[in-house]
Amino acid sequence: MGRKTIFFSNLREAGKPEQTETGKLMDWIANLLIPLIKSLILVIGLLVGFAYMTWAERKLCARFQLRYGPNRAGPFGLLQPVADAFKAIFKEEAIFGQVHSKVIYVIAPGISLAAALLAFAVVPVGPTINSFQVFGFQVPDISLHLAADVNIGVLYLFAIAGLGTYGIVLGGWSSNNKYSLLGALRTTAQLISYELPMGLAIVSVLLLSESLSLVKIVEKQAVLPFVVLQPVAALIYLICGLAETNRSPFDLPETENELVSGFATEYGGIKFAVFFMAEYINMIVVSAVTATLFLGGWQWPAFLADLHPLIAVGLFFVKTAFVLFLFVWIRASLPRVRYDKLMKFCWKFLFPLALVNLAVTAVVVALLPG
């Protein structure tokens, strides 16, 4: 008896460190696997979002112009994006002969797309779903803030948004085409100019939120979304968002009637599709960030958001979709601006306006604590 007990206790003791080893390994795998699954879901989600954004835009633009839009592939043309994807993949590209640098020419669209995807990493989609049971299986807490509390969220967004410019500039530069070069130059000047009022508009939001973390910014808006407190900043942000994503009426980098397609003139097939994807995913990111910074993200209105985490996520998506609809609406309504007016508008109107807005906000926040 005695020996047996000793044997088993020995075995238990021998088993223990081994178990913690496997436990550690499991933790380690979980620490890597969960972010991996999250990022795959995020990338696929953004791709589906991109595909159906193109569909929705074509449908909406058609309706604005009393046309039908895509309606052949599938019901309501819903399979059109799939057909477009296959077309892009199987399309021949024969423009290697002329480019300045093959390497830069090929990786430029990739840089654009990677930067566009990366920007979404810090946008909180929804609150944390507390752990629940499905078929007797305990599901752990699922945090729907994808990268929950990165305390430099806004700075990260800015840094990544700046990277996206490189793709366009390098693409236009390496194409060995005058249109592309001019398109790339315009893009550089336009994107860097509109970054300034955008940054200042966000600074006035930061004065209210007292944090760079997007989650904290959303939580601050449970009572009142910042668009009510900062209507000017919201407007400036939206206008700059249009300019930063090269959307009409600020689509000077790709003006069809003077630069053919701007930086993308020499791109075709999948490479053009990748640029196109980057542009639309940037649009989704700008809309999601607008929803987060100004429209209260998943938090407002609180009485709806508190019902269930999934309703909160729904709120976030509805707001993002609303901003995207605004993008399409503006495209369908406004003509393109002239380049000198574009720069004048930014430097002589938006930038001073953002400065004044910031100064007024600072004074008001100092006078009214809380």
Partner: protein
């Protein structure tokens, strides 16, 4: 906090891998029938004349210079805005002095015509 950066790190890898996969996939499946006309520079059907790297307006460069100044200003404003409520009146006055200097710079650039598109 650390796991959030793990997520971003892994997301960086996935986000870089995705365009590579897309470009590589198309590289393997698309038809390749190059010829001299296809691979010439597109200029609406005309033969291209001269160098691609044409002279361009110096204005693009001036905008870039002005941008650098004010972008750094904006970055300096971020920590100020986040810590604003803890710093009190001192921060307000100091930031107004900082902004005033930069607004002076903006007015100077404006008067000198650096913001004109001539």
């Amino acid at each position: 906090m650390l796991s959030d950066y793990t997520f971003i790190g892994i997301f960086v890898v996935v986000a870089i891998a995705f365009p590579i996969i897309a470009l590589a996939l198309a590289f393997f499946v698309r038809p390749k029938k190059p010829d001299a006309v296809k691979s010439s520079t597109y200029e609406c059907g005309l033969e291209t004349i001269g160098e691609t790297w044409v002279q361009f307006r110096v204005q693009y460069y001036v905008y870039a210079l002005v941008f650098v100044v004010f972008d750094i200003e904006t970055v300096f404003l971020y920590p100020w805005a986040v810590a604003y409520n803890k710093l009190g009146l001192f921060a307000l006055v100091e930031m107004f002095i900082f902004l005033a200097i930069l607004v002076g710079g903006l007015i100077y650039a404006w008067r000198k015509g650096a913001l004109e598109w001539v």
